[in-house]
Structures are given as C-alpha cells and as structure tokens.
Symmetry: C2
Amino acid sequence: MRQHITIKDIARIAGVSTSTVSRALSNSPELSEQTRQRILEICRREGYRVNALARSLICNKTNVIGLIVPEVTNPFYAELSLGIETHARSLGYNVILCNGQNDAKVTEELFGFLISHQVDGIILASSQQDAGTMIQKLAPRLPAVLLGTPALVSGDEVNSVCIDNLAGGRLAAEHLLELGHRDIVYLGNRPNSLTHQLRLRGFTEMMEKAGIIPQVIDNPHGCSSIDIGCALSRKLFANGCSATAIFASTDSMALGVLQAADEYGISIPEDISLLGFDNIIYSALPKIELSTIDQRKQLLAEAAVDLLTRIIDSNEQDEFTHRMIRPTLVSRSSCRAPKK
Amino acid sequence: MRQHITIKDIARIAGVSTSTVSRALSNSPELSEQTRQRILEICRREGYRVNALARSLICNKTNVIGLIVPEVTNPFYAELSLGIETHARSLGYNVILCNGQNDAKVTEELFGFLISHQVDGIILASSQQDAGTMIQKLAPRLPAVLLGTPALVSGDEVNSVCIDNLAGGRLAAEHLLELGHRDIVYLGNRPNSLTHQLRLRGFTEMMEKAGIIPQVIDNPHGCSSIDIGCALSRKLFANGCSATAIFASTDSMALGVLQAADEYGISIPEDISLLGFDNIIYSALPKIELSTIDQRKQLLAEAAVDLLTRIIDSNEQDEFTHRMIRPTLVSRSSCRAPKK
DNA sequence: CTGAAAGCGCTTACAG
DNA sequence: CTGAAAGCGCTTACAG
C-alpha cells in the first residue's frame, strides 16, 4: 500500500543515474535543459514526490518551523497562528502547528516531537512566566522565539516578540480615567504570568498617579477563558460590587464578565463599563461591542517569523533580540462615563 | 550550531555498537537489562533525542497524521482540531495541523507537504463539494478520511465521517414550524457544498410537507463567516424582509445576521427568530444566546481518528466506510413564536 | 546477548 | 554534462 515511487524508479525509467534525477529536481545548473525537461515530465507522469525525510536528512534542513500555541480554540491564538503560517509560507517555510493545551507536560512532549522531527526553529506562543526557561531547557541550541512574553525582563537567554504590555495597561487606565471612573476592578490577574504582571503594573501605576488604587482580582488558573472570567465575576457580583468599571485581563475573560453580569441583572455599560485586552473578532459583535486593547496580531506574527528566520539563516546565536509592538486602544461601546 | 548528538556518539561513549544503542532505545527484548539501563542513562545525560526522520525512513512509518482544516480561525474547526489532536495522541499519533485557508491551491500544497513528509494518513475537514475528489486525486493510496462531507453521496472512493446534515435540516425546520413560523428564510446556502445542499434539502422537504416554501438566499463564497453572513443579511433587510424567522447555514453566518439586524434596528428574537448550525462556543454567550443545531464535534473528531487509524493498521483498502453522526437541537433564546 | 553489514531515499563532492 | 561512491542517522535480519 504505502509503496511510494522513488528517485530510483525515475532513474530507471529515464535511463539515467539517480544523481541526474536529483539534479533535475533541484534545478541544478549543471544539466542540459533537455534532459531536465524529460526527467521532470516523467516525474509528473509517475506522480513522483520527493521524500522530504530523506532530503532533510541529507541537507540538515527541513524548512519547517514548529509553532506551539497554548490553545487554538482561543481566537487570539487562532488568528495569531494564521498570521504566522501565512507569513512563513511566503518565506518558503512550512509550519507545524501544535496545541500545548495549557499543559506543561503536553508542551514538553511537543518540543520533543518538533525537535525529533528536526524543525529548523520553534516559535512558542505563551503568556506563562516560565516559557523562556522552557525554551532554554528544552531547546537549547535550536533557533527559537518566544512570542507573547518579554524574555528580556525574565533574564532568559531567548529571543522574544511581544506587545508592550506595560503600555497596554497604561492605555487601559487612561481610557477609564478619562471617562471619569474612580472605582475600578482589574479582573483576572495571573500572578504567574509575566505578561499579566506588566499589564497590571502599567494599569496600577497610571491609576496611582491619579490617586486611585484599583481592586485586583487574581485568576488562579493557568489560562484565561470565558468560563473562568464568568466564575470570577460571579463571585465579585455576589458580594455586591461598587465598581463602575472593570478592566478584564483578556477579551475572553471580558466575555465571561458579560455572562455573569447578565445573570446578575447588571447592564453593561449602563451600570458598569467593561474594557478587554486582545481584540479578538468576537469582541466586535453587535450586542458585545467590547472596548479593548488591540494586540495587533498581524504585526506580532510577522515580527516573530522574521526574527526566527533571521536567526535560522545567520546560524549563530550570541546575542538575543527583543521586539516590542505598541498596542492601540479600540474604543467601542462597552465603556462610557459612570453614572453620577 | 545544529549539531545534534547521534546514536553513534552514544555508542562511542558506552563502548558498544550502534545496533546495541538502537536496541536499548526501542526496548528490544534481546538485550541485558543492565546494558540497557547503562545506555539509557547515557542518552539522558547527553540529551540524546532520536532523529525521527531517520527512524521513519527505515520503518516506513511516522506515527504522524496530517489534518487539514479550512480555517483554524473558525471556532468550529478549532474545536474539532483540538478533539482530533487529543484523541490521536491517546492512540500514539502526533498530528500536524494545517490551515487550508479556504483555498484550493493552498490545500493542494498542504497535501504535497504532508505526503512528502510521509504522514501515515490524512484527515481532510471540509464542506467543499469536491473535497472527496481532491483526496482521490492528491492522495490516492494514502489512508484518508474526509470529515464533514459525506463521500457516500458524491460517489468518491474515500472514507468519510460527518453529521447527518439532512436530519439537521429537518430538525431546524421542525423547530421553527413548531414555534409557528410560516414565512422563513434559509440564509447562506452554498450551492457548491454538498453539506449545505443536504442541510437545505432536509430543511425544505420538511417545510414543504407543511405546505411552506422557504426563501433561499445563496452564499456565492467558498466559505461561511460573520462578514459574509452580515453582508447577505444587509441586502435582505435593505429590501424589506417579511420573514419571521431566519435559518442561517452556520453559527458564524448567524452572528453576521445579528450584526446586520442590529444595524437595521431589527430585534432578535422579538422581530425575527434566528437559528444557527454548528453550536460554536460563542453562540452560548449572553446577549447572543443563539439556538442552533449541534454538530457534536467531539464525536466527529473521535470517529474520524478511529476510522483513520483503523485503515492505517489494516493496511488494506478495498472497501470504504461512511459514518454519520446524529445532530441535536440546542434551544436557546434566539427563537420564539412569531408576533401575530 | 552483541556486532558488522546492508539499506531506507536522497544529495553532493569527486572523477571523468 | 553525467555517473559511481560515500554518507545523512537510523533499524534489522544475519552471524557469531
């Protein structure tokens, strides 16, 4: 069944050596145009397809990039991975997209899988604190880029691309302050996520300048989701919530807030303003209309691929690059001035 | 830089032949437990990792399944791919997830990529009419399963797993009829999609039994999305819409209807009831609360993987299997009885 | 229980 | 311009 046709078969049919077939396929210049065409025609006719495994084994290059995301079901990562795949393809690389499932064990296995398969480099998208350390430990020597978390701050020797979360937090604070909010909740802070730490820090610093100390509600889970956002908000609302605005750590969390608010008869934005972070496509839906901080996924994706391929090509690694992208505010209708 | 440690290095360090190292790694029984442990310890210490390319080349088996989805950014496919990956992993297979981007050219390239990389089998998730033919043409001889479209009907010689779309269409019709609707629009029919044809047929057959001929609005694009749903609905609403209910061909399309309705000041479900198809997670959001037909992604995913691995193991292919999963109605609040 | 040898499908110096 | 040979990293009969 799995009997593929090989270069040997083609050589036999064409009456040439395997070397010649190989050269015809790789567009080697040292070959008469005539024989090349004749051989290529035979390949086409016989449905020949090069065995990438064998070729990569020889060339020590696969032209494959491994991409690990925490969860494809989160639209933020789905959109990000689409951007990465598209840009990588335009540069001649294929992408193997893997689902870490927010699980360190699975992620570690995926590293093993990708390395075993000799990928040329790895992009790890993560908001986990230890993502940089993971790369160092699991893929030393392999070109790698950490996407979404600034490795610079954590001191790991890895390359990274991410949004400026500090600036993002500040943007959020400015927006809510300008609208006149004073009693504000930051919902869903993940203490073990550097990304979230920075987001929070930018937010609180700006708030404190205005003499305000926001209430911070931690998210003890390793990820953010609608369900978690909903659960945390239920607790908040159950205890009676005086705040006029909630800044949710991600859009998914914000969608959860929306759900809990609905259950408690709280209107958004009439009773409470809601601001998210990420700008996933569902935030733009009517009835949702979530104001949010845009992570600019397209820019992130391209920067990560560009950086990784540059490292792969340079074949050296004695300095590390960190790129930060500036976030922007997307103002929709989930935020307004507080009631007097 | 990309100097990996090989079996030869291990052999040298351990003072044995490469054969022995290989046997230690593959848990071959013909080996003293003592040397095995000694060798494995060295491998661990040196951070040795088997080169999957070389191993697969010899074994003629990769334990990798290729999965092509039209778009990971569609939550339906994102959830489906998660189910497939999880189930495949539990059976010892890794999954290479690829993004067809709703583009025949890209999909064809992906087939080439996967076949070149010697995957053991392919799952193609698609709602395109010609998906079965594509498999036959691009991957004859390779174990493959078409997911989401019934190959049986199209007469292609491929295996398939899908929901019973005819039954799904009937379920939708029954629900709207029971609520008392008589003036109904089916929005987003894709004439070149067998899946959608069946959905429509089940729907109209049931309607016609009740003496009703629904208005059908075609979707000329090759895919369904929020934007397309919105654009089609705008046209519908702009011309004045008498219908009391809309059955959208997918949940994404339904979200687009919601958006257009909002623009035209039409309330759902007060003015018009809205029913979707798929049951993506965003349909469950408050304020959205979309009634829909559940495709039961988990069952689909598992059935596809089970079928594919069975074919891979059997190593023969002279009969083709078609599995259909029964859809269910998920009734939320976007559908109600029409105003008198 | 262990090793030498052949071979998986390919590429690339090295000759001619 | 073309071919014979070596080799990528591994596995597996075949001897011993």
